[in-house]
Symmetry: D2
Subunit: 290 residues, 4 copies
């Protein structure tokens, strides 16, 4: 089927390729016109037959909001807009409402898979109404991995981004569990070959996973991880997951700790630990670093 | 090759089967003589040609210690004892030393894989000296999964159990990351079909793993997990991992939190929260539950 | 000076008493007319000379919002409204803006001290502009403890409630630190007299504090805390503190853990631990509780 | 009464002074003979009338062990040795046993108070048998703060050091709760005067404490804590407390997190966060720092 696809960066570009390989007709648009199939959003709209399906794959926040508003200008009643970016789930229902006023339908889709999706397929979590989900099935089928997994209609507007958010929250926790174990292995005098231990877990063990495969891969490339700084950004979903845990009164020690560790990794010095050092100096005359 | 195998429970019984299927000759011994191939340890020793290899697969602690001491009585210089149970890594070097005095060699092996190992193979982490590891390779080859993964010679005496301990510490963290995400999904009004979301992650997602497959399997059997109490024992390795993190000054927020959550799951009431309730009542006149 | 005081419950009632004891003229209003000094808000306004100062001490959220809106109807330009309740700090600036349109000034005050404030004085953290803070100083002086401490002008609109929010976040952490220590003492075979140990810390120790005094007091009344359930509500500030930590990228392991412990204390069973139990059963055939 | 006191450093020196001010006769010994009242342990023993009471106040570990062994050589049956250092509680019962063989009694005392103890008195937690505790009461009375608090006979051998260990574990948690709150205040655009907020809490608030007084004092000296690095050592008790929580199956999220934060404060780079960065790069092509 036909699809408009806006945003042809690392994710969007790969998705266009995977969709075309599956026989779909993709009209891509990007600010970078060199990779674009249309010179403007209106040209993109013209190139698609109604009812159109247009998928946005641009950075969450203002860029997504602006893109969808502009799209709404060039689309018409009956068309479907899909936001596949990492928008916050609370944006979706109001957005669906605004678009509905123009007769335009809306789906939110959480997309996992990173740079590997072009080959392995992307896990898709969809929020919205059943008829539109049904209508877009061929696209979802082409993007998702072969087989029975990799797709869920999670609920109504917002559920797709919500499921992806929790997915990423879990991802933070999983990564940090491996990371702590890795650090213990590395610190211990008992273990002479850390990469070999990690590699041994890739089959037959309870902790085997795709993330573990990637850790093994990273250690193959750089056995001591010497080339990297212990620094990690966070992209919003981890924070939102903790905020949701707080809102819903769910104890989330692990996910919160993983998020806090990222915060810590970006600090030059810790104001909290300065306060601890100040207190130790005050009551015990303990030595401090200046 | 020949192997003596002591302990034919859930793990040992399956391992005997997998080894025999690979063409090895296994003489099994168990307190339950109905499943035993020998009536006693000395009979087991007689049925094996020197140099013997005898693998113990019994509960860690006193039972393992007693079994190895008894074995040492019936074996002779040049034989090899392998402890495949979940012994604490600090037991291994002293044990190896004691056996060495009799000329008996020792290997410690961490075995992962649970009830699935019979089919998928077991991940094996080995501690000890290279000649004995080499000698026992055919056994390890038969037990481990097919392919390049599932086996590591991690270091000297204790390294096998150490690697398995860290493996289990990571396992605690992984399980709890999934568990927290699951609870958030379940608590949220956005998600209408939690099992479908979990299932969608099994392919194409960053969080795909064998544990996730098992969670999906559990939800297939009992979509609300109604049949289970939120109660989990711990088997030692989680505690030892946290103790090691403390000894080595490794921040292990995630693994510690996962362990503490298990402790909590076994408490009828929390003394700590009684203290919190008492304090709130004292300073604020806040209502308490009696 | 004159003060209107709305809300004469546990906090407001005590505050009226402390203010009157200091020689101030307080006109109190409460829904419960039996304790009220005025039959309505307009009567309260009539009883005060302009420029009026009216302090609201009612539950945060809709009740506070409604009260302030009604007050704005009966007050006039130049008057000052003070919100001393536990409102969320984000409510304050918009509220100040709305009142400013009518020429009414606004201060937000965080009030700590609980049921002990009537005797010891209340710690006050104030947000707003300097002229109004100055104007209300006599009231603040009467409410705060004697001496140099117990009062801060923390910043502009919202800063008072913000400081109180962080105060309560810290309070969660402090209470939980004592609570964990208490539980360890209680669990240990080494300590024969837990209340005596707690009591010994009240003077000369690094951990001495008012909260510790209260814990000792609670143990005097009920040495095993038998009469209490380990159950604690949370009143908003703890959640907001964690949300702020997340927004500001501040690692807040301790405060978050204390909040999560309260969530846990209110759960009949833990969905997360059900998932952990399910996983253990799946991979290891571990026994579960039903 | 007479007391031998070994170790005249920051703690021991102050204690000698406080004891003498209370009218006791203290014979001090230190490696630094300039501050010593005796040239050797045997001279110290000679200067005391039997039954002697000798208090060791030297660094825990080998130095304490050696000192007590040497003391045992120069003391005689009926004498009492008191270890007031931060020894591990598990050392006490075996030590008491060894001394008992020579008829020498033993008490373990946890001492809190830091450099302030000379003026305010020291909180004392004592482990051992009642007759010896009774015998040494005058010394305890002189060292402890005036009034009803500051002393507990916590249990038998080890209980004194155990109580002090938990005290310090709590101290870690308290300090970190304040530290997190301080960092949030500092990070927030709402709070214009962080030191003023901290100061306001010193009276009338629920979080008032001696540690808070010290934080205020530190901020008076250095309002931004610019002179300090966010770096903190740990002296053993925090680690032992977490180990005990693990042994006793007590959830100790707060104390563990505070300990881990100290570990983190001493790392130049975090191996765990390197692993996280490596994983993010592998699956998402996320930018890393080198």
């Amino acid at each position: 089927m036909q699809l408009g696809l806006i945003g042809l960066g690392r994710m969007g570009g790969n998705m266009r390729e995977r969709l075309r390989a599956a026989g779909h007709e993709v009209v891509g648009y990007d600010q970078n016109l060199e990779v674009s199939d249309a010179a403007s959003l209106s040209e993109l709209a013209e190139k698609l037959a109604a009812p159109r399906v247009v998928w946005t794959m641009v950075p969450s926040g203002k860029i997504t909001e602006d893109t969808i508003n502009q799209l709404a200008e060039v689309l018409e009643a009956g068309d479907i807009i899909i936001d596949g970016g990492n928008s916050k789930f609370t944006d979706d229902a109001p957005r669906a409402e605004r678009l509905k006023a123009k007769g335009i339908h809306y789906l939110d889709v959480g997309v996992s898979g990173g740079v590997w999706g072009i080959k392995n397929g992307y896990a898709l979590m969809v929020g919205g109404d059943a008829p539109q989900v049904e209508h877009c099935k061929p696209i979802f089928e082409a993007l998702k991995p072969v087989g029975e997994f990799g797709f869920a209609h999670a609920g109504t507007h917002g559920a797709g981004h919500y499921a992806k958010m929790v997915h990423n929250g879990i991802e933070y926790g999983l990564m940090h569990a491996y990371a702590e174990g890795y650090e213990i292995l590395k610190a211990s005098e008992y273990i002479h070959d850390v990469p070999a231990v990690i590699k041994s877990w890739r089959e037959g063990s309870v902790v085997k996973s795709w993330l573990l495969d990637l850790l093994d891969r990273a250690l193959d490339e750089d056995p001591e991880l010497d080339a990297l700084k212990g620094y990690a950004d966070d992209t919003g979903e981890g924070r939102w997951t903790v905020d949701e845990a707080v809102r819903l009164a769910v104890p989330a020690h692990v996910i919160a700790a993983s998020l806090f560790a990222r915060f810590q990794s970006r600090q030059d010095d810790s104001p909290a630990m300065k306060a601890v050092a100040a207190l130790r100096q005050q009551f015990g005359g303990h030595a401090v670093k200046r």
